[in-house]
Structures are given as C-alpha cells and as structure tokens.
C-alpha cells in the first residue's frame, strides 16, 4: 500500500549546527528549528507557543547545514522518525527527528541556497 510521511517546517534555527560523522565517515548534522503556533488560551487571549524540532541532515545536506548559523530562517522538508533507546541508567528514552531531504536557507540578505 502507498504510504506517506511528510513534514514541512519553516522557522528559525535556534542553535549552531551539531556536526558529526558516522563510524564510516559519513557526514551528518543536527539542526534545531523553532516554529511557533498562536492559539487562544482559556481567557480568550492569544498566546504564542513554540515547538522545537530536531532535524537530521545527511551527505550534501549535512555540508550545507554546517554553514547555517543560529538565528537563520530556514525551510526544511523531510520525514519524521521516532527512535527509542536506553540511557546509561537503563531508562527508556524516546526522541523524534525530522530526517531532512530538502533544505532552503532563507538568509537575511535575501540570497537563497538550496540542496536536495
């Protein structure tokens, strides 16, 4: 059966990229992006609530991600991946990441850089 798992994000990068590589030297980078959602609270006032997303970039996207500074506006598309693992105390941990396949850096000077 046909399946679909697509995530589209547009927001600001909240940290400088976390650059890593796998044991066999494959480059990867983690980016952190914040989006915000406005909603009405119980008193009927609009409040803005941020969500922080963890993005994983591989290969050429990781090379692009390296150059994205904190604060930059960014467009990203990919799929969501949930992972569980045990921490050093044996407690079950869970995290969700967006595995990026398209990145567009919406730089402040108006220039665009893209990779796919």
């Amino acid at each position: 059966m046909f399946n679909l798992n697509r995530v589209t994000l547009l927001g600001n990068v909240t940290h400088d990229p976390d650059i890593r590589s796998t044991k066999n030297g494959k480059p990867m980078a983690f980016l952190s992006v914040a989006t915000s959602r406005r909603h009405k609270n119980q008193d009927g006032e609009y409040v803005s609530e941020p969500t922080y997303h963890r993005l994983v970039c591989w290969g050429t996207l990781a090379d692009l991600a390296k150059r994205i500074p904190k604060g930059a506006p960014l467009f990203a598309e990919g799929r969501i991946q949930h992972s569980t693992w045990k921490d050093k105390d044996g407690a079950e941990k869970m995290s969700s990441e967006v595995v990026v396949d398209q990145l567009i850096l919406l730089a402040r000077d108006g220039t665009k850089k893209t990779a796919a």
Binding site: N3, L4, L9, L10, I80
Partner: protein, 133 residues
C-alpha cells in the same frame, strides 16, 4: 516571523482511538498510525521499515475519530508536530512528540454495519465550551 509546522501522513491505524475529556470538558482522542518506508538498498534489495506515530485530536475531531477510526484501517491525516514533556522518575525529563490532527480522511472500504461517510474532513476542533454531557 510567521512559521510553518505541517505534517502529512498516510498509513494504517495501529490502535483504536481512546477518547477522554480534559478537566474543563474538552474531548481528546489519542491513537496510533504506522507508515511504512520502502527503499532499495545498495545491492538493489527492497527494504522496508515501519514508523509508528502517536496522533492526538481535540474537540469535535476527537469525537469523530472515536466513532469512525478503527485499528487496521488506512487513514490520511494532516496536522502539526508538538512535543510534550513531563518529569519522569528521578527528575529526568520525558519527551514525546505527537502529531496533533487538523484534518483527516478515512480511506479503504467502509464498515458495512454503519451508515458512515467514507470520507469526512474539515472538522475544525470545537472550543471546549459546548462539550459533552
């Protein structure tokens, strides 16, 4: 700056919705959806891996889910990502990322027993006031 946080999933429901109400009477339904990613590895062999998502619906959409969404049925959903956190044992923080639904379409053959619409959508979450008896 305005931002975008949009998720589209098409997959199979993995568990029946569980309908609850918050303290102020707002309905909330939670259930699971699996998507399957299929790709060819470097030797050309087809591989597939499932991804299990936790979905949350509020208000009228929650009640619609509780009535119509069934385990095993294919489902199309749109929504946004939201990460909740709470304190776990020994002061550690637990994070859970869920997809909060804004729209859904029931897919696949309908249940013969109930005269339900095959596809229903645009159920805007209803504010908590006019809720449940």
């Amino acid at each position: 700056m305005k931002s975008v946080n949009k998720v589209i999933l098409l997959g199979n429901t993995t568990r029946d919705p569980e309908l609850k109400a918050t303290v102020n009477g707002q309905s909330v339904a939670t259930f699971g959806l699996a998507t399957n990613r299929v790709w060819k590895d470097h030797t050309g062999v087809k591989q597939s891996l499932p991804e299990y998502h936790n979905l949350v619906a509020w208000g009228g959409l929650a009640e619609f889910c509780a009535q119509n969404v069934r385990k095993g049925k294919p489902l199309y959903v749109e929504g946004y990502l939201k990460t909740r956190s709470w304190d776990g044992p020994e002061g550690s923080k637990i994070f859970r990322t869920e997809i909060v639904l804004e729209n859904l379409v029931l897919l696949g053959p309908r249940d013969g027993t109930e005269g339900l619409p095959e596809a229903a959508a645009e159920h805007a979450p209803i504010p908590g006031e006019e809720m449940r008896t």
